[in-house]
């Protein structure tokens, strides 16, 4: 347990959060190596299945990053994503996950520093929550 490190999956919108992550790199901002980024065209195409698949395959935390409201490259993608995410989070909580294991934030392409800070903070939060209960569930717990 002591050598456990979180495994965090980040779905990042190509038009904002992914650019933010890029900028964080250019600005030499540190963020934890536990983060794996998956670039998506829009948060609107992050189906609830993607998030659950990540959790089911052992991700300890899942983060969805998109454009600020009103800034969606596809007009409405992030709005739809927000409602879906909220509903999914309710369901995951009911199913036994800690609510903070999944998070959605709006991070624009200019917010490189904020991206790094948010990742650091999310990583800490997952460290506090502990490993994904799915591990115990797969082992018959």
């Amino acid at each position: 347990m002591s050598d456990w490190k979180p495994n965090i999956v980040v779905f990042a919108c190509n038009w904002c959060t992914y650019q933010g992550a890029d900028l964080a790199g250019i600005l030499r901002c540190d963020y934890p190596s536990t983060i794996s980024i998956i670039r998506v065209p829009c948060t609107g195409c992050v189906e609830p299945e993607f998030i659950v698949a990540a959790l089911k395959n052992g991700a300890d935390g899942v983060f969805v990053g998109g454009c600020h409201p009103g800034d969606c490259h596809y007009q409405e993608g992030n709005n739809k994503a927000a409602a879906r995410f909220k509903l999914l989070k309710t369901v995951l909580t009911e199913m036994g996950f800690e609510p903070d294991r999944v998070r959605m934030e709006w991070i624009s392409g200019s917010e490189g520093k904020r991206f790094a800070e948010t990742m650091t903070e999310f990583n800490e939060s997952i460290e506090r929550i502990g490993p994904n209960p799915i591990g115990r569930y797969i082992n018959g717990g």
């Binding site: 189906e47 609830p48 299945e49 659950v52 698949a53 959790l55 089911k56 739809k80 927000a82 409602a83 879906r84 909220k86 509903l87 999914l88 309710t90 369901v91 009911e94 199913m95 036994g96 996950f97 209960p133 799915i134 115990r136 569930y137 717990g141």
Partner: protein, 319 residues
């Protein structure tokens, strides 16, 4: 038609409603019987024992219909036998295909279920704190046994390879009447698929705005059926009643919306959808005008996974 089709039917967990859907074929059933050789129908119709079924050559039965979910070891065993003996195995009805309504039991532990049944229920009288035991000595001399249960409900495909799935709680008899001749004629879709007319409930629903050339607008409110009757002829979901017809197979003919009641997904997911509940969440949430409306949806798991929790990606409450 040359030979009769050899058919086996096994009712696992479940309520018997899928059997009734066959009985409801009524006179059609009498007409179909001459073309069928029912080699096994347990525990209901035929006088063939499990061991007789086990004794049949492998793959000697043309089609096996398996209804009901898996909760007991014996049901898992029978699933394996049915798989071995039948060339084609069909998960028939919502319980076998998805876990069904009793699958909601996967949100609760066995201990919780026992606590409710044997202690907390209002009319229960249990002065000695008795819980049914798998082994019990009555009056010091009669040893009685009860079977042990699995802790969770599983759909058929979790314990045996399934060739085809049929949705519905139960499948409507008119759909059964369409499917059985196909089965008798040996005409099947690609293995692993659902036997379905391939249309969503919405596609068959008179209320669908699309069929009237109208636009689907965002939902401004969440309504329950206790909040008053819906407007005639207008889409239930559009009015705020959380109807799941968009992601549900419409082999029923969209019956529930016809009587002003929203669809709850008993038909199973439309082709291509792996996890019914998650896709339903996606479909419904995408239409909400604002995310605050989410808070007004009561017990979402038991709404979106009413019939399909055991077959979902997570399958059950995880701790």
């Amino acid at each position: 038609m040359a030979d009769k089709v050899k058919l086996a039917y096994y009712l696992s967990g479940g309520c018997g409603g899928c059997d009734m859907a066959i009985i409801d074929l009524s006179e059609n059933l009498v007409d179909l019987l001459p073309r069928l050789d029912v080699v096994f129908w347990a525990p209901t119709v035929a006088d063939v024992k499990y061991r007789d079924l086990e004794g049949l050559p492998d793959k000697s039965i043309d089609v096996g219909l398996f209804s009901g979910m898996i909760r007991l070891s014996e049901q898992e065993h029978m699933a394996a036998i049915m798989r071995r003996k039948c060339r084609t195995l069909i998960a028939y009805g919502a319980c076998a295909a998805l876990g069904g309504i009793p699958g909601m039991g996967n949100m609760h532990s066995k201990e919780e279920i026992f606590q409710t049944a044997y202690f907390d229920t209002l009319s229960t009288d249990n002065p000695d704190g008795v819980i049914p035991q798998t082994r019990c000595l009555v009056d010091g001399k009669y040893e009685l046994t009860l079977p042990e249960f699995y802790r969770y409900v599983r759909p058929l495909q979790d314990v045996a390879e399934v060739d085809y799935f049929v949705g519905g709680c139960p499948p409507h008899h008119s759909f059964v009447a369409r499917v059985i001749p196909d089965i008798l004629g040996g005409s099947f879709p690609a293995p692993g698929s659902w036997i379905t007319s391939d249309k969503a409930v919405c596609a068959l629903c008179d209320r669908n705005p699309a069929v009237k050339g109208e636009e689907m607008k965002l939902i401004k409110t969440i309504k329950r059926t206790t909040d008053g009757p819906p407007e005639e002829g207008k889409c239930l979901l559009q009015q705020g009643y959380l109807c799941l017809g968009a992601v549900t197979q419409g082999d029923c003919g969209a019956l529930c919306p016809k009587v002003n009641i929203p669809c709850r997904g008993c038909g199973g997911p439309v082709p291509g959808v792996k996890d019914f509940g998650l896709r339903a969440i996606s479909a419904v949430a995408s239409l909400l005008e604002n995310e605050e409306l989410v808070d007004r949806i009561p017990s979402p798991v038991k709404l979106f996974y009413r019939y399909s929790l055991p077959a979902s990606m997570l399958g059950r409450k995880i701790k």
